[in-house]
């Protein structure tokens, strides 16, 4: 009797766990379903090539916002990649040192800072002193968010490089710097690049840190010292507006954003799967 009860309970819990998985997939399916169906009906070539139209005029696109998003993300990467990669190299080369554990701690901390708080921080250091919202400030905000991701990715991947490669380089008389930059980093490079691209695609979907750094711009601008329109902030503006036309544009923007993120996630998944296979092969 008791054994039956125990088996029954076990089966119920197993079923509940499977149910939890299905339950979590429902919102995922719903979000993707709405983004695709609502987005696709409003997506057209014009969305990528035309400027936003004023309220009441149908059509128009978000060309300025797409260029703006690329630019702000690019500026962020420009600043985040050197800092992230170099500190990642430090953390893996001097893994046992006190500075390495401190920088690891700092990166994890930074990773946990709410994005809106990073926006406030960058407002204080890059907007307030110049009394001007700028694309550059938006880039700094996104850069700050990318750094911990890039640093930890670099560190983890460098530690995966087989020690025999390093020993070979050192045996040939290379200094540590030379071994790192000509042998170890190149060996891990495909993984590092994948990680960076993944981080970029994720950070490109950020809105909160841009609200009061790069702000928004109704015009086409590529000037880093001026406010700039971005896809995410534009979606936000449109979503909370009362106009049906703008809502459609917001859905189209969401579809573009989700496609980018999805594409990069899939790419990264294949890349990591391949690397894991290579790793096992060795």
């Amino acid at each position: 009797m008791r054994a039956r009860w125990r088996r029954l309970l076990s089966n119920v819990v197993v079923a509940l766990c499977a149910g939890a998985v299905l339950l979590a997939l429902v919102p995922l399916a719903l979000v993707l379903f709405y983004v695709v169906t609502q987005g696709i009906s409003s997506l057209s070539v014009a969305f990528f090539t035309e400027m936003p139209k004023p309220v009441g005029e149908a059509g128009g696109g978000m060309s300025n916002a797409i260029v703006g998003s690329l630019m702000v993300t690019g500026l962020g990467a420009l600043f985040a990649i050197p800092v992230g990669v170099m500190s990642g190299i430090y953390a893996s080369e001097y893994a046992g040192s006190r500075l390495a554990s401190l920088v690891r701690f700092a990166a994890d901390t930074l990773n946990g800072v709410p994005s809106i708080v990073i926006g406030v921080f960058v407002y204080g250091i890059a907007v307030l002193p110049f009394r001007q919202f700028t694309a550059l400030a938006g880039g700094v905000a996104l850069g700050v968010m990318m750094i911990p991701l890039i640093m930890r990715t670099t560190e983890e991947l460098l530690l995966l490089v087989p020690p025999t490669l390093r020993e070979g380089a050192l045996a040939l008389g290379a200094t540590r710097a030379r071994a790192v930059f000509t042998v170890i980093v190149p060996a891990a490079l495909p993984g590092i690049i994948t990680g960076i691209l993944l981080a970029l695609s994720r950070i490109a979907g950020e809105t909160a840190p841009l609200l009061f750094t790069s702000f928004n711009n109704r015009f086409f601008s590529t000037d880093p010292t001026q406010p700039i329109s971005t896809l995410t902030v534009q979606i936000y503006t449109y979503a909370i507006s009362p106009y049906a036309d703008w809502h459609r544009q917001a859905w189209a923007g969401a579809l573009v954003l989700v496609s980018i993120v999805l594409l990069f996630s899939l790419l990264a998944r294949f890349a990591t799967a391949r690397m894991e296979r290579l790793q096992r092969g060795q």
Partner: protein, 320 residues
């Protein structure tokens, strides 16, 4: 120790200093965030002191700044989200790491982590146009006698605490479930085998593993809590943005991050701006504490490093 030629040691020194400088820069940024937030909120701190966090009136026009409703909204929405998401996240983690057949694992991990990949703004958009109307119909369908209970009172707006908590829980699930999965992976296989050898059922063996991993699981849930506290866009779009303290799930309320998103560019006076930055400062400190505590729990389990590509995948979830 063999002595190195001087050229090599100079080279080494240069390398260490060069890369170390960037590491210091990273540490400097984190420190700078704290310093800057403190500096830009000093007017408000000096003017209101502790009073700021104990007052309910937020009326920038009249120069009254009381931040209690925001603290309330942030904590209430995050705790509700945790109550909804924790059982689901644990179920997912258990299913994937203990129960699922091998061929299901990778796809399921990918799908649940996709939940973390969808940008916050997209959740917000979906929240406004799909979730909030659904919650509104739920409110309309609430039977009369239930509406007398404070938890369900209020007009049917759709936007409000329940919508915010639901969307937060969806966003938090991938974090707590993936960390729980890592932690369960760190439980020695012998634990489970011993349980089975003593005649345990599947659930009893899992419970044993969960007991072994309890600190790490608490850490995983706390990590999700930290995410929920700081989440901005999706919450801002569905919580209704009304600074009031209410138990009602249907009442529009406000959070710390939402008030920053909405009012920061409209801050007309220095005092107003400093009051907002002070909210940011406290949000920073709270999430910092939650994160550090949760990470120390997870580390104590040795979950760290058990999966080598964790960071590549997590470059993923990354951000709220």
């Amino acid at each position: 120790m063999p002595t190195r030629p001087p050229a090599a040691s100079r080279d080494e020194l240069l390398f260490r200093a060069g890369t170390g400088a960037f590491a210091l820069l990273l540490i400097g940024i984190v420190a700078a965030i704290g310093v800057e937030l403190f500096k830009e909120s000093r007017l408000s701190i000096r003017e209101f002191g502790w009073h700021f966090w104990l007052t309910d009136i937020w009326d920038p026009v009249a120069g009254e700044f009381g931040a209690r409703p925001f603290i309330w909204g942030t904590l209430y929405s995050s705790i509700l989200a945790l109550m909804i998401s924790t059982p689901i996240a644990l179920g997912i983690a258990i299913y994937i790491s203990e129960l699922a057949p091998q061929w299901q694992r990778r796809p399921l991990v990918f799908l649940t982590e996709l939940l973390a990949a969808i940008p916050s703004i997209v959740y917000g958009l979906w929240g406004i146009f799909v979730l909030a109307p659904f919650v509104r119909s739920l409110q309309l369908a609430t039977p009369e006698w239930m509406r007398d209970i404070p938890l369900f009172s209020g007009p049917p707006l759709g936007v409000g605490m329940l919508s915010a908590a639901l969307i937060l829980s969806i966003m938090v699930i991938p974090f707590s479930s993936s960390v729980t999965r890592e932690v369960l992976k760190a439980v020695p296989q012998a634990q489970r085998e011993a349980a089975y050898a003593l005649g345990a059922t599947r659930w009893e063996a899992i419970r044993m593993a969960m007991f072994y991993a309890r600190t790490g699981i608490v850490g995983a849930v706390m990590l999700g809590f930290g995410r929920a506290l700081g989440e901005t866009m999706a919450v801002t779009m569905v919580i209704g943005n009304s600074p009031q303290i209410a138990w009602s799930l249907y009442a529009p309320q406000y959070t710390m991050s939402a008030v920053l998103a909405n009012e920061f560019t409209e801050a007309t006076s220095d005092l107003y701006l400093h009051a907002l930055v002070e909210i940011g400062l406290v949000l920073f400190v709270i999430t910092l504490i939650v994160n550090v505590v949760s990470r120390s729990f997870i580390w104590s389990m040795g979950g760290q490093g058990s999966s080598r590509f964790r960071w590549l995948r997590q470059a993923a979830g990354a951000r709220a």
